[in-house]
Symmetry: D2
Subunit: 150 residues, 4 copies
Amino acid sequence: MEPRVTVDELNAFLAREYPELNGPPVAGLPPVYAVHEVGPDFATVRLEAGPNHIRPGGTVSGPTLMTVVDIACWLAILAQIGTVALTVTTHLSIDFVRKPAPGPLHARAKVIKLGSRLAVTTCEITAPEGGPVFAHASATYSIPPASQRV
Amino acid sequence: MEPRVTVDELNAFLAREYPELNGPPVAGLPPVYAVHEVGPDFATVRLEAGPNHIRPGGTVSGPTLMTVVDIACWLAILAQIGTVALTVTTHLSIDFVRKPAPGPLHARAKVIKLGSRLAVTTCEITAPEGGPVFAHASATYSIPPASQRV
Amino acid sequence: MEPRVTVDELNAFLAREYPELNGPPVAGLPPVYAVHEVGPDFATVRLEAGPNHIRPGGTVSGPTLMTVVDIACWLAILAQIGTVALTVTTHLSIDFVRKPAPGPLHARAKVIKLGSRLAVTTCEITAPEGGPVFAHASATYSIPPASQRV
Amino acid sequence: MEPRVTVDELNAFLAREYPELNGPPVAGLPPVYAVHEVGPDFATVRLEAGPNHIRPGGTVSGPTLMTVVDIACWLAILAQIGTVALTVTTHLSIDFVRKPAPGPLHARAKVIKLGSRLAVTTCEITAPEGGPVFAHASATYSIPPASQRV
């Protein structure tokens, strides 16, 4: 099926519902987390890792990579069901297999099961052009009953 | 065995090696992430979740909880082996089981296996005084060979 | 709260609903998997690992350890909600941290969240008398709505 | 790179090193676990789930699915490095997203990182002809140093 929500709508939703994620826009700089692509069962979020996102050793920090995974998986689901903000993560598992240097990364999340109450996703982080996987993750989300959606 | 590193030493290490984590100190405000206690095989990190750490619905965000887990597990290992900053996360798995409101939380990490090259930890997030678990996690770290430590 | 089901009732349930797990009883031999203890939020299953449960190198195989974890976590939940056999595993994550030699092992599972539709558990495998952890796991189960229980 | 080991060699290795996995051959019946395909960075294991592998509700049991994942991921690594039997699982995480009925299933494991001491894999279980995913997993293995291989 087609996604119900476009890239622009997802970015606007993210800025409105989760303003602290990117902080206030800075002229001439891209946001740290931006939806890049969305499709029938996936969403890709672009991470612009800057000096704030580096760990000892000079590579992108684990918490930054976990954040982009969580955002991408969440939005991959919301792209299918609509922007139900109260959809929450119940589990996230990630393997860090290579250390990414600062610079843009893509987290591509795929919905492998969309139930009425639970959705399961997988996610890979690579360079924007693809190539070796930096991290592989899976994440599960609880979807509120339709009656509790706002 | 006794930890090789004290609470104060771990906090100083964190500020020096990972300055972006807490950002510059703000007069009258506690740091977001602070080592609270350290012991023979554990470390507890206190999280002061503020407005920056909230997700839609008003609870502490998943990325914030994953960050405090990663810091606590990393420091629980470094407390035993010394502050080997290049010790890196290779895997992290977390179950979010209750939604914490803003305010202080404690992440207590325990080292369940300390090998020469790999260490495995578990972590629970609760209120500072204990009580129901908000999140339970496990995390694995790769320890660089002694010859590569700086 | 007190468990709703006793050790003997759980063992009888296991033999009736899951006969292939232990196979037919053998005179003079204990079952491979047997409920050992049950309490307000936990269950302990004893594994008698025999020649069938050994992997190359002579230690107890990963699949055997994953099986005892799954059984212990499932029964820890059923001890609280009653023997709802259609409660199914939705996620299991395990860290193997030490290699157990053949012989008895205890898997002690604890329920950390019991919701109406989902339950989350943790589990540790040790020698019967305790001591170092051989494996640590977490597992999540989907509980069928009351109307679908048989 | 080409796998170093063929399908037939992996099946012979499995029968020799892990005889309890399939038990003694039964005339006219396929083995429960059989290597089906092997490639530069993957291996597919076919599971013939029979009456012994069923859980309450009539679907293939979680332990059976975890076993085929562990075998497939292990062999995907051994196909690249040679049949180093002492390569052992250190972590396995699995999401069960649909319930498979009895019958043949394929577990396709992919090596996403092959280090000298650790290898990380992912695995999907589907029907032999593909289609919806029944389970998705990741698993990590510790590879013994060359000097300890036999």
